[in-house]
């Protein structure tokens, strides 16, 4: 009688409170599910009038399924076990990126950053971001103090992929590496004075790059066009027209005229936020921003709650990556950031971005789930 009444009670008592599956961050999971659902809907709206529109949805669905599986898989593995392999992971990331420069690499939108397999293409820099985060987190967490030597090694770990993305040239991804570095170094314990010197050097470097011949004019224009709205590019003005005309409540799902007419180039990938802005209005687009904010908040919270420095740094790196992706991507469509080709996590169409985002959340979950292990 008793056994039948309290079967769960028995199990409760016999259960290990530190078991990973008990510590899933369900809020993060729920937020990600909502973002993916919204994002998929936006991709549907953006691609339904394109040639081969249904193909986009099939592929995006596949990416979501694969990504979700990847997330679950990674979250079940203790992040420390993964970090043990950081040299290998880092090496593979670099090899993947270097392979772009062989004849295997394909050029998309003027950037040599892709491998192409039939209808699919793979952007190794997306995956490399996670590899670098893991590597730096693992390296920095080996010691409590970050002296100049360790700082130099960490900078080196960041520097190599950054330079490689600049060579593609993929300015956006390079910036992502720099921002990740900044976040991880700050939280990783770099001394304040070193940090200030670094920032100063960085500023000098940016000015130097802008004034040297390294960047093509179009890149400079992209970078500066948001400062001088008169010279706005077609992309930016069309994006703002789409978002602005959405108003408070938007035109309604699949009813956005700018979206329907395909006026915003890349509206299914980098400019996906214009679809949300136009069709869902301030209410819907604002809600999407809130969801993305909640996601970043949960990652930040997991950084705080992490069981060790390694976990904290992994979360900080991922948070920095997400934060920059979100702010740069949405900011670019709103005209407050320069136009660079980086996707909106979980929302933009594209396999590399989708899988990387899922893998990143998987890592964060792993940090959260295995914090008592």
């Amino acid at each position: 009688m008793t056994r039948t009444l309290t079967p769960s009670g028995d199990r409760f008592r016999s259960t290990d409170l530190t078991a990973p599956w008990r510590h899933v961050d369900t809020v993060l999971l729920g937020v990600v599910v909502l973002i993916v659902v919204t994002g998929t809907a936006m991709v549907y709206s953006a691609t339904r009038n394109l040639a081969g529109g249904s193909g986009y949805m099939v592929r995006q669905g596949l990416f979501v399924v694969l990504g979700a599986a990847l997330m679950v898989g990674i979250s079940l593995i203790d992040y420390r076990r993964i970090a043990d392999w950081w040299q290998v992971i880092y090496g593979l990331s670099l090899i993947g990126m270097a392979g772009i420069f062989t004849p295997l690499g394909a050029v998309v939108n003027g950037t040599k950053g892709w491998y192409r397999f039939g209808p699919f293409s793979l952007q190794p820099a997306e995956f490399a971001k996670l590899g670098v985060i893991l590597a730096v987190a693992a390296y920095l967490s080996q010691s409590d103090r970050v002296d100049l030597r360790r700082l130099a090694v960490a900078l080196g770990l960041f520097g190599v992929p950054t330079v490689m993305t600049l060579l593609q040239p993929d300015l956006g991804s390079a910036l992502v590496f720099i921002v990740i570095a900044l976040g991880m170094l700050v939280v990783g314990g770099v001394q304040m004075r070193h940090l200030l010197v670094l920032v100063a050097l960085g500023l000098v470097a940016v000015l130097g790059i802008l004034n040297s011949g390294t960047l093509d004019q179009y890149q400079k224009d992209r970078l500066t066009s948001f400062v001088t709205p008169d010279g706005q590019s077609y992309n930016v003005s069309q994006a703002q027209q789409a978002i602005g005309s959405g108003g408070l409540t938007g035109y309604g799902f699949t009813k956005g005229p700018q979206t329907r007419g395909g006026y915003v180039p890349e509206q299914e990938t980098d400019f996906i936020f214009t679809v949300a802005g136009e069709e869902l209005g301030f209410v819907g687009a604002g809600a999407l921003v809130v969801l993305l904010g909640l996601m970043v908040w949960r990652v930040w919270r997991n950084a705080q709650l992490a069981g060790d420095t390694l976990g904290t740094l992994i979360c900080v790196g991922i948070m920095s990556m997400m934060l920059f992706h979100i702010f740069e991507n949405i900011g670019m469509t709103l005209g407050i950031m320069p136009v660079t080709g980086i996707p909106l996590p979980f929302v933009s169409y594209g396999g590399s971005s989708m899988m990387t985002s899922f893998a990143a959340v998987g890592l964060v979950q792993s940090v959260h789930m295995h914090r008592y292990a």
Binding site: V187, G244, G261, L323, I330
Partner: protein, 707 residues
């Protein structure tokens, strides 16, 4: 690094994240909450295009509801310039060359230069289609649409164009339509497209009171001549529009708003198309039979043109208005090439575009005599009209010596004693010379211009006011006008003085007197009805069709928009005595044995007696102008139904040419045996009738004399 300072740094990172998200929110609100309208407008102008849609013009019907001008659909190969603008010059040129080559291969020779010119034409709004080749076959449309990807920016659209079931019948009365020009556009209150200017002063606005304004834009059709022009405000459709949404490539996504155009109103002429056909057929046959022949002096009967006008004397309505050579408006539906324009206005060709019935001006000759007779009776010079004068064929001026003082009857024929009626019947010139001299000699009593004043009351010398463009005013010479012209240009004239001789030749409708055939018929209609001068009307009513699927002229299938009522412009103060004298003289012309048109009336008699007057006007260096004007029926208690004027220049005697033609036209009408007009698709009956007309014209019976 201790946990506490890590937490501090993490918090700092959190604050950075929070502020970045706040920045996104503020910016999002700024775009969507505050600047929304600005972006809405920008987005709308981006994707919405308003396409102007012309509606079908109103039809033109004859007085019995037979459709004379209809609409049909024409396929037009046109350019949508939106995608073409995105090409570079070389690519576009190659594209134009291929299009020109393809059109030429399809049997419609087209020049690249024309396509380029149309492409650059600023008169079309940027989003509007510009026509390249009009009226192509369905095969061309299929050929192009099957290869749409090879011809970006090339569309085949359908347009409504005019069709003319009766071919060239009444062509000059109907007029033609064409693309509105800058001048007309400004006059109609339209705005010129950017970059186009016109130096011409705007035309005087011709808006009809009570008709709602119908906006125009470049490329629209407008009536250029005839009724198409004068009744434009009724005929034109109220244009509609389609607001369409296009995508970034310019492809149509959706029709957002559609305002259907409303068809124009139908205009019913006063013309009876069957009578018109009869008049045109017989006029053409007459002119054919004349050409190549010569008169006794050797002057060639060129008969370069001719006109017949038939009017209803009790209303002023024009029943037929024939002008030779004919003009076929269907030759203009695809635009008028410069070759066609030259041909239509070539005087060697008789200027087919001219409506000679109201644009031609001719010396009236003896057809003027009734007005001189009326002047003599009403002024008191010949109070009864029975005052007689011995006509021995020659009139000698009283106060003059020598042969220059002699004025002869045509051919010098003596007519014996003549009074007003008989002078008209036999067409005595001497009697009118006598009147002319007495008027001038007695100008202290009669004034300078008793003849001209009398003629003016019948409408001679000023436009009749018919609602058709281009009417000429004719001319009534006066001493004052002569003097004025001389003083303005002394070198051009021998003298500025008006002499007795001028009065004498004016009295018989020669000298500087000129009338239009329309004025002549209106003046005789005025005589016929006892003195009321009506405005000649070319339109009887304007209607709006109820069921577009049914014929527009079908009883009960239309609402009357406006009915044209008879409009009396003046009343000639004529006593029954004066009127009787003139009418009896004119009846004698056809009924008395010595009448100048008696023989030809007997050759093709109308069902009732007719009153009328022949005229043979001399023109220096050319064969005579043959004229006849009259009406029927006439007689005690008869209501005049048809007034007619026939004028054929360089044709010979009025009694030989014009009078027989007039009777032959009216004869079947008076017997109720008018041949129905033939449509272009079924000409057999008319070809037979034309053959018969030709044969009859060869053997016309005339009086054998001038007058």
């Amino acid at each position: 690094m201790d946990t506490k300072s890590r937490q501090v740094r993490l918090s700092a990172l959190g604050i950075v994240a929070l502020s970045l998200f706040l920045a996104l929110f503020v910016r999002l609100w700024f775009l969507q909450g505050i600047d929304r309208q600005k972006f809405e407008v920008a987005s709308a102008s981006n994707r919405l295009r308003v396409i102007h849609e012309e509606g079908p013009r109103g039809r033109i019907l004859d007085r019995n509801g037979k459709v004379i001008v209809d609409n049909r659909t024409s396929r037009v190969v046109a350019l949508d310039r939106e995608p073409l603008r995105k090409m570079d010059d070389d690519e576009r040129n190659a594209h134009f060359e291929e299009l020109a080559r393809t059109m030429t291969e399809l049997g419609r020779p087209t020049k690249v230069a024309l396509i380029q010119k149309r492409y650059d034409d600023k008169r079309y709004a940027p989003q509007e289609y510009v026509p390249i080749v009009e009226d192509v076959t369905e095969e061309v449309e299929i050929h192009l649409s099957e290869r749409a990807e090879r011809f970006p920016g090339v569309v085949v659209e359908t347009r409504s164009v005019r069709s003319y079931p009766y071919g060239s019948l009444a062509g000059q009365v109907l007029g033609y339509v064409g693309e509105i020009n800058e001048k007309e556009l400004v006059a109609k209150g339209g705005t010129l497209p950017a970059g186009v200017t016109t130096t011409d002063p705007p035309e005087t606005t011709t808006t009809t009171p009570g008709v709602p304004p119908k906006p125009y834009q470049p490329g629209d059709l407008i009536g250029k001549s005839g009724v198409e022009r004068s009744y434009e405000d009724y005929l034109r459709a109220v244009p509609g529009s389609r607001t369409i949404e296009v995508n970034a490539k310019g492809d149509l996504i959706d029709v957002v708003k559609r305002e259907t155009p409303r068809a124009g109103d139908d205009v019913w002429l006063s013309i009876d198309i069957d009578l018109q056909a009869e008049a045109e057929r017989l006029l053409a046959a007459k002119i054919d039979s004349l050409r190549g022949r010569t008169d006794k002096t050797g002057a060639r009967f060129n008969a370069p043109q001719g006109s017949v006008v038939i009017q209803e004397p009790t209303t002023g309505q024009i029943l037929a208005m024939a002008s030779y050579p004919p003009f076929d408006p269907s030759s203009t539906v695809n635009g008028i090439s410069s070759e066609l324009w030259a041909q239509l206005n070539d005087s060697a060709n008789g200027q087919p575009l001219y409506n000679w019935a109201l644009q031609g001006m001719y010396a009236p000759g003896s057809t003027f005599k009734p007005f001189t007779a009326f002047a003599a009776m009403s002024s008191g010079l010949l109070p009864t009209g029975n005052e007689s004068y011995p006509d021995n064929g020659v009139y000698k001026l009283k106060a003059c010596k020598g042969t220059k003082c002699e004025f002869r009857n045509a051919g010098g024929t003596p007519h014996g004693r003549v009074n007003v009626p008989r002078s008209l019947t036999v067409s005595s010139d001497v009697y009118y010379y006598w009147i002319g001299e007495q008027f001038w000699v007695g100008r202290d009593r009669f004034g300078d211009t008793p003849i001209q004043d009398a003629a003016a009351k019948f409408g001679i010398g000023s436009p009749t006011g018919i609602r058709l463009p281009g009417e000429n005013s004719g001319r009534l010479p006066t001493p004052a006008a002569r003097k004025e012209a001389y003083e303005a240009n002394p070198g051009k004239f021998a003298t500025g003085d008006w002499r007795t001789g001028d009065n004498i030749i004016t009295s018989i409708g020669q000298g500087d007197v000129l009338v239009t055939p329309l004025q002549l018929v209106d003046a005789y209609a005025t005589l016929a009805n006892g003195g009321t001068r009506y405005r000649p009307q070319i339109v009887s009513k304007v209607t709006r069709i109820k069921d577009a699927a049914l014929p527009p002229g079908q009883e009960g299938n239309f609402d009357v928009v406006t009915t044209v009522e008879p409009e009396a412009l003046g009343k000639v103060d004529m006593t029954p005595q004066q009127h009787g004298q003139i009418v009896s003289g004119l009846v004698g012309v056809t009924q008395s044995g010595e009448g100048t048109a008696a023989a030809s009336w007997r050759a093709s008699p109308t069902a009732w007696p007719m009153a009328g007057k022949t005229g043979t006007a001399q023109v220096r260096g050319k064969a005579d102008t043959a004229l006849f004007a009259g009406w029927g029926p006439t007689g005690p208690g008869a209501v005049p139904q048809y007034a007619i004027s026939v004028v054929v220049p360089e044709a010979g005697f009025g009694g030989d040419v014009a009078a027989p033609l007039a009777f032959r036209i009216l004869q079947p009408l008076s017997h109720g045996q008018l041949t129905p007009a033939c449509t272009v698709v079924d000409r057999s009956a008319c070809d037979m009738a034309a053959l018969a007309a030709n044969q009859a014209s060869q053997s016309d019976v005339g009086s054998g004399g001038p007058g």
